[in-house]
């Protein structure tokens, strides 16, 4: 009793930003754009910190993989209750080509060298919406996974997790060590208060490179093109239902 929890946090374009596609169509514009911690990762972190406050967890370690600016997000994680942070630093040029598979490989290496009882992740990142890292890691480690968690209860050497799925709620029990991914309604993340931001400065932040971990970062996918969705076409007004039906038939949406 007393889990060590590893929490993955990703630095993404802030949810409030109106993203724009680059002129060369290779991706979205990220320079000079507001970034912050992935909202689902905030929820995952909050859950881990809450478990520590309830004495079910003894240590919360934050992890992030990417360019130098990941440190901002790790400092915030420390200010929100993580005890220490690990930054796997990738040069900015390569960071844009990182895939969930590479992150899972890095996490696996970290876990191999250092015993963890659980890995908490956000269910998906709001930039790529991949929703892969958790499952890939579970497969690599042969650990059980509890995804889209909306409630977590420690239960001896297991976790009882309620998950939000298409059909409703699904409650499962997973034996530790396990992977968990956080969904929106799991909790409401706290703010990083000023006293905690100050305290976070003294908490350890470890840096590693892909070479240190001995992992391969070769991309498996290649982005061919990124473009905006088609502009919404203007609609029209009709006076009555028969005209509406006629229009729908005319446009081929219902059989004539």
């Amino acid at each position: 009793v007393g889990m060590r929890v590893l929490v993955g946090v990703k630095r993404v374009v802030d949810y409030a930003v109106k993203v724009r596609v680059r002129p060369d169509k290779t991706g979205v514009i990220t320079e000079g754009v507001q970034h912050s911690m992935n909202p689902f990762d905030e929820i995952a972190l909050e859950e881990a910190v809450k478990l520590k406050e309830k004495k079910s967890a003894t240590e919360v370690v934050a992890f992030s993989m990417g360019g130098p600016k990941c440190q901002e997000v790790l400092r915030t994680a420390l200010a929100k209750g993580a005890d220490k942070a690990i930054h796997v630093e990738i040069p900015d040029a390569d960071a844009s080509k990182l895939e969930p598979l590479h992150v899972a490989r890095a996490l696996r290496k970290i876990i191999e060298n250092d015993k963890f009882d659980a890995v908490f992740l956000g269910k998906q990142a709001i930039d790529d919406d991949a929703n892969q890292t958790g499952s890939l890691l579970a497969g690599m480690l042969d650990w059980p996974q509890a995804l889209y968690a909306s409630k977590v209860e420690p239960d001896g050497k297991s976790l009882k997790v309620t998950r939000e799925i298409d059909g409703g709620l699904d409650t499962i029990k997973v034996t530790l060590p396990a992977i968990l991914s956080a969904d929106l309604r799991l909790n409401e993340p706290r703010y990083a208060t000023l006293p905690n931001i100050m305290k976070a400065k003294k908490k350890p932040l470890e840096k590693k490179t892909a070479k240190d971990l001995g992992i391969d970062l070769t991309p498996q996918t290649k982005v061919v093109e990124v473009s905006e969705p088609p502009v919404r076409q203007a609609g029209g007004f009709v006076d009555d239902v028969p005209t509406l039906i006629a229009k729908l038939k005319e446009k081929g949406f219902i059989k004539a």
Binding site: R75, T76, A79, A192, T193, L194, P195, I197, M198, A200
Partner: protein
Amino acid sequence: LQMLSSLRSSSTLSSSVRGLLTASSAAAKPRHDVEGRAPPPLNQLSEHELALRDTVKRFSHDVIKPLVRSMDDTSTMHEAVIKGTFANGFMGIEVPEKYQGPESSFFDAVIVIEELAKIDPSVSVFVDVQNTLVAPLIFTLGTEEQKQKYLPRICHDWIGAFCLSEAGSGSDAFALKTTAKKDGDDFVINGSKLWITNAGHASFFLVFANAEPEKGYRGITCFLVDRNAEGVSVGKKEDKLGIRASSTCPVNFDGVRVPKSAILGEYGKGYKYAIECLNAGRIGIGAQMIGLAQGCFDAAIPFMQERKQFGSRLIDFQGMAFQVSEVGMEIEAARMLVYNAARMKEAGLSFVKEAAMAKLYSSIVASKTTSKCVEWLGGVGFTKEFPVEKFYRDAKIGTIYEGTSNIQLNTIAKLIDAEYKNKA
């Protein structure tokens, strides 16, 4: 003849330029380069400052924003907002860890004040007074006993109010009539203070009273008075044009007996403390004004991008665009004055002139910005449905409190005069 006169004029030009250079460097200390690198731009914040700004932004958006309109309508500050400012560590920002404070920097206070003002300038001034006037007076001047009593509470739940102004003394602060008559080992305070910010919520007051009126301003002494002391009463709050959620009330002292130990700092030095702490206070108000201007601007521009007339976006009309440029430029300039004054204070440099300039200029910019934003939004700008009319009303106080614009102009002129006199 022509050549001679041009030579002469060029030598007077060079001597006056020399005068300019030496005058401006009179107060500056040499810069200590860090690792041989040039100093970063003023608007580059450290990691920790970015994290703090993010917290304030979220808090303002999540907790304050939904309550802004109702707090303004009812002239009240919501409990959730007050509790939140304490819970997030926005109160007593520089208070040392020894007294349960975050022990952070003055610039952090500027960040908090600025960000809060983008959503509600009333909440901004609420936090500003605590951080730029109340807490600093106590941690710089307090005895160990006073610091132990007040500082931890300042960070957790006690709000302080700064009582200087009276009905008969605003700009002429030292003409105050509140007296503190010595009676054995105690002092008895009699008088009425007016326009006191935070008075409605205050648990204690820093009261400037004259213990020896015969000595003029050299009798003015600062006393720490608790709200529950007998004879203290807080009057009805003012029904104001702007920053309505901030409580502004008269505070009456009717034979309030305080021990000698209630004196903050030295007897008869109150006038000095008032002037000195108001310097930092000016930077705080500057921060409030730039936040207010920015918040208003941020509400107006998207509207001008959406709204079309005569087939073009409002912002595409050159007349409109030119106004937008000017306002944007002035906000940027005001922010640089405020940020630099704050950094100068932190670097231990003399910052009196820069603080006065920051407050003066940013309050002027806030007034102009908000006035323009109401015009740009047209009819809707004039209604309470949009936030700009509130910013317009809130901005006005910037040119009035913590030293009116005329006082700032006076101060700056005197300092410039002295600078050049030193080099004559």
